[in-house]
Symmetry: C2
Subunit: 325 residues, 2 copies
């Protein structure tokens, strides 16, 4: 492994000179700089990032920590984060947060291997986030309402989004609206249920607890739960799913039971994932600005790193009317 010391020796200068030369410090004369550069070239020298990071006490790297690296849902958020990180000439690493306290996410946060973090990973607890956040490690969360000097949030208006979706169903004349729920502890799920409830209340509907279906945000579970329900009963004429994945599973189940969508049963989802516009029938859903979540969140990280003030924000949603309702 060739180090700066080797380069310096070969160039016949001090290590410090070599360092300055390679970093284009103006104190170094043109001639010595060239000597160092050629030496470095000939030896095929590569600076050691770890050593630099240790000395400089920063990594110029932002971490994006996700529960599931591969979720289709995240694509646009990743793009947004990537954009702002590169604009600031920082690096981005995306890490998994599954696996609790020995997840990569947790380690990277604890061990200061990033200078800032965008978190969309319910598995990381509030407590852990409070522990790691500080000036040199600002955190922006996308999956909960958490705030302190170094912690900000970027959320979407879940309540309003589902309120609109459900109101839309009511306006179209649907009477018995089911709720296909995500995991109970999920912040997004809770908020979406809240919007659902409020819309019912405001229209003097009362909610039949039997129409609350418990899913887990996966297509598979949406399919299973609704299949099972339709075997015995068909007391719903509309279904609001807490996310698109489950809505897509539900649609599958409904079609397999030979009900018409939206005539017999209407379906509305939440998220507007790519798939939603391609399925049959195309899914009515609540769109939210995923790319912007990424850009805003990352922008906030850099604001905090620079000591500037920032405010947490809640982004608006938009109902996308398609043929499933």
């Amino acid at each position: 492994m060739v180090t700066l010391k080797d380069v310096a020796k070969k160039a016949g200068v001090a290590v410090s000179t070599a360092s300055y030369a390679l970093n284009n410090n103006p104190k170094i004369s043109e001639t010595t700089r060239n000597m160092v550069l050629t030496a470095a070239n000939e030896l095929d020298y590569r600076p050691n990032g770890t050593a630099r990071n240790l000395k400089k006490q920063k990594t110029e790297t932002i971490g994006l920590f996700l529960n599931d690296l591969a979720g289709p849902y995240y694509s646009e958020i990743i793009r947004g984060v990537q954009k702002v990180v590169s604009d600031n000439e920082y690096d981005l690493v995306v890490c998994s947060a599954s696996g609790g306290t020995d997840s990569t996410a947790y380690k990277f946060l604890q061990e200061r291997r990033v200078d800032g973090a965008v978190i969309l990973a319910p598995k990381i607890t509030d407590k852990e986030i409070y522990q790691v956040a500080r000036t040199q490690l600002p955190v922006v969360v996308l999956d909960r309402k958490l705030e302190s000097d170094y912690i900000k949030y970027v959320l979407i208006d879940n309540v309003n989004g589902s309120y609109q979706a459900v109101t839309h169903l009511i306006n179209r004349g649907y009477k018995n609206i089911g709720f296909l729920s995500g995991p109970e502890e999920s912040y997004d799920n809770k908020e979406r249920y809240e919007g659902f409830s409020r819309a019912l209340n405001d229209n003097n509907f009362l909610f039949d607890e039997n129409l609350l279906f418990k899913g887990d945000f996966t297509e598979e579970e949406g399919y299973k739960v609704i299949s099972k329900f339709l075997k015995n009963d068909i007391s719903i004429d509309a279904l609001f799913a807490a996310n698109d994945e489950m809505a897509i599973g539900a649609i599958q189940a409904i079609k397999e039971n030979n009900y018409q969508i939206p005539n017999d049963i209407a379906v509305v989802g939440f998220d507007d994932i790519r798939l939603s516009s391609y399925i049959n029938p195309p899914l009515t859903t609540v769109r939210h600005p995923k790319y912007e979540m990424g850009t805003f969140a990352t922008h906030m990280i850099f604001q905090i790193l620079q000591g500037a003030a920032t405010e947490s924000i809640v982004l608006p949603t938009q109902l996308i009317n398609r043929e499933s309702s």
Copy 2:
């Protein structure tokens, strides 16, 4: 920032003792270990990963370098890589390779911030890969045929896959088969074209150069190119697209021009992305084992790290027959 020194001072022991204690070295007595542990707790000590990495000369981190972090195509590969990395109790970071020599991927490779790399990023040149690969940084490539002591590849049998797809079209009686191509310099594209050509040859078809459509692997471009073609001409009865994204764009174009799929024009894609089975009509395509690409590649990395022998491999593909052909 509380360091090991602070912990040692508080516990009244030497720094080395504190280090041994925290790392559960058996040389340390139960009592001192506890003293150190309580001190660490009280001070809320977090070890500095960068310092440890520097000293240990390794990061226990594997990098997965992708052209586009957000591509839907990558999901399963990521899952596969993640699996094997966690099984080996290493960490995974996924980084973008867009941006050439100042991409994060390039920097991480150069600066030894990972101990091994899985690369699926045509933007990183062969030369760069040759430069960085070595015992302490084995590389497995998924997008080209590159090999040395520390570089292995995991590829899919592109030629055979498209050969089968095209043979399938011929067997069904299609006569005028177009090829919707990806970027010309893409390894995958070249191989897929090769399989296409061979299938035509072996069946004594000769290829009309006018039926070679130049796309870039995106849905949008597939749509545009085929739309334009269908405006003037309809001399094809089948289309083989070098990937599913373009096939999906083509299907859209064909439907908009009021041709029936597969009666007027059949379409076959390559990759079997999730969307392909949901669109209308469901897309016939060539499936390849993405998850396994990830697991095999990562497994090979660890083999090399442990000084064991490994062989590059080519994985088989499978024709998935759906209603678009």
